[in-house]
Symmetry: C2
Amino acid sequence: MVSEGEAFCPGHVTAFFEVHDDPSPRTKGSRGAGLCLSLGVRTVARVRDAPRQSVDILVNERRQKAEVTQRVAEKLTGSRSFEVKILSETPLPVSQGFGVSAAAALSTALALDDALGLGLPRDELVSVAHETEVECGTGLGDVVPASLGGMDLRLKPGAPGRSEVRTYPVKADLLLAVLGPEMPTKTVLRDPAKVAAINRVGGPLIDEFSRDPSLERLFDIGNRFAEETGLANPTVLEVIRASRMFGRATMAMLGNSVFASGRSDQLATLYLRFGTLQRCEVDNEGARLL
Amino acid sequence: MVSEGEAFCPGHVTAFFEVHDDPSPRTKGSRGAGLCLSLGVRTVARVRDAPRQSVDILVNERRQKAEVTQRVAEKLTGSRSFEVKILSETPLPVSQGFGVSAAAALSTALALDDALGLGLPRDELVSVAHETEVECGTGLGDVVPASLGGMDLRLKPGAPGRSEVRTYPVKADLLLAVLGPEMPTKTVLRDPAKVAAINRVGGPLIDEFSRDPSLERLFDIGNRFAEETGLANPTVLEVIRASRMFGRATMAMLGNSVFASGRSDQLATLYLRFGTLQRCEVDNEGARLL
C-alpha cells in the first residue's frame, strides 16, 4: 500500500511575547501576539508498508535533520512499520522568526495523519506539533496560532485545550526583510538574562495590547518590545525607525529580521539596502489539508 | 599554537556557458560569461595543534556538510594533525546559481593557507578550489572568475594556467531574485539531454559575445541562452520579459533565479510578486584576504 497526504501551514511571526515554563510540554509555551503569513510550509507525506520503520525528510529537495518534523513523524507512526517520506517545500528561511519549524511540524502532522488514515482529532495533531516543538526547544508559541490564521493574541500558553488564543482576520500586504545572520531560538531561550528581559518587558505589553488589539498597535507595541528587551541589534532598530516614513515595521521574534506593512515600494527600496526581501499577505485560514 | 586567516570571495553568476569535459579536473570546466557579486562568502579559518586531524565547518553558525569546503580544507591541511575550524558567513542562498560553493571553497583556501602559513602561490589555491568544485560536481566555472572580479568572458575552461579568462570592470547595481526551488548543479549536469542542449546553444553564443562584450549584451545573450536551452521555467521567462520595461534581467545559471540591472525600484516591485530579493553591486576585486 502507498498513500499520500498533503497539507499547508502558514509561517508565523511574533511581535512580542512572554515565556511560560512548565514541566509539561503541552502546558509550556508563550503568551504573545503575531501574524500568520501566506508564505509557509507545504508538506507531502508519503507512506508505504515496509519490513521496518524509516522516516526520510526532504526540505526543498534536500535531505535535512529537521528534528521537530522527524519526531512528529515518529510519534504519529508509532510502532507500525512504514516507510515514511516527508517532502516539505518552503520559501522562508529558518531561524529568522518566521515559524518555519512549527509550520513544518504542523503540516507534517496533518499530512501524515491523512496519509496513514489515522483520523486523529485536529486538536490532537496541533497538540503533538506544539509539544514536539517545545521539547526540541525550537519554538514556544508558533504552532497554535499557525493552526488558526489571522492576527493572534495568545492569552494563555500551551497546546489546544490549555491555551487561550483570540484571532482577528486581517487584510494586509506584508514585507519580510532578513537583515542579519540566523538567530536560533534555542540559543536565546537558553540565556537566563534574555528570558528575564523578555518576561519583564513582554508581560505588561501583552496586557496593554489585549485592551485594544489592532494591526497598528501590534507594530507599535512590537517596537517597544524589540527595543526594551535588547533583542534588536542596531541595524534592526535603524530599519524599524526608518520604516516609519512609509508605514510600520517590527522585529520578527526570534530573528534578525523584520515584518512590515505600508507603502510597499518605498519600504522595499529601504530594505534592499540592508538584506533579503520577500512579500506576502496575512493568512487568515490557518493550517489545512490540501 | 592557534592561528587564524580570513578571506572574502564574491558570489558569481553565469549568464550562458558551455560544458567542457575532461578526465583531469584542472582541465575540465566551462566556457561562458558572467559577473562577480559584492555579496559572497566571508570565511575565517582557525587552526590549532591537536593530537589528531579534524575539520569542522560552520556556515552561518550552523554545522554543515559542505563537501567542497571540507575537501579543500583536507587537501591544504594534508597529513598534519591540526584541529581546523572553518567559519563561513554568507547572505546568498545555495543552489540558486550564485556560486556559493565556489566562493566558500575559494575563501576557505585563501583563509586556511594564511592560517597555516603555507604561502602557496595564489594560482595554486585557486586551482585547488576549482579542481575540488569539479570533483564534487557542484560547479564548473565559478571559481576562476570569482578569483578575478568584474564581468568575465571565459574563453578556455579549467584552472589558472590552463584557462583563458578576460575580465572587464563594471560599475552596476544589481538585483538578485530567487523565483523557485533550488536547482542543484549536479542534477542538471547529470542529464545528458540538458548538457547537449547547453552545449549546442552555448558555444555559438559565447563566440557572439566575445566579438563585442558589454553588460547589455551579457543580459541579451543570456536571455537567448535561458530560452533556447529550456533551462528557464515559465516564471523565470515571464520575469525576464517583464523586466525589459525597467532594465534587463537574465537567469542565473544554474538556479531558479535571475539577476538584473536597471531601474531598481520598479524591478524590485516586480520581483517581489514572485520571490525573494537581494540587492548588490558588481565586485571588481575578486577573492581576497581580509
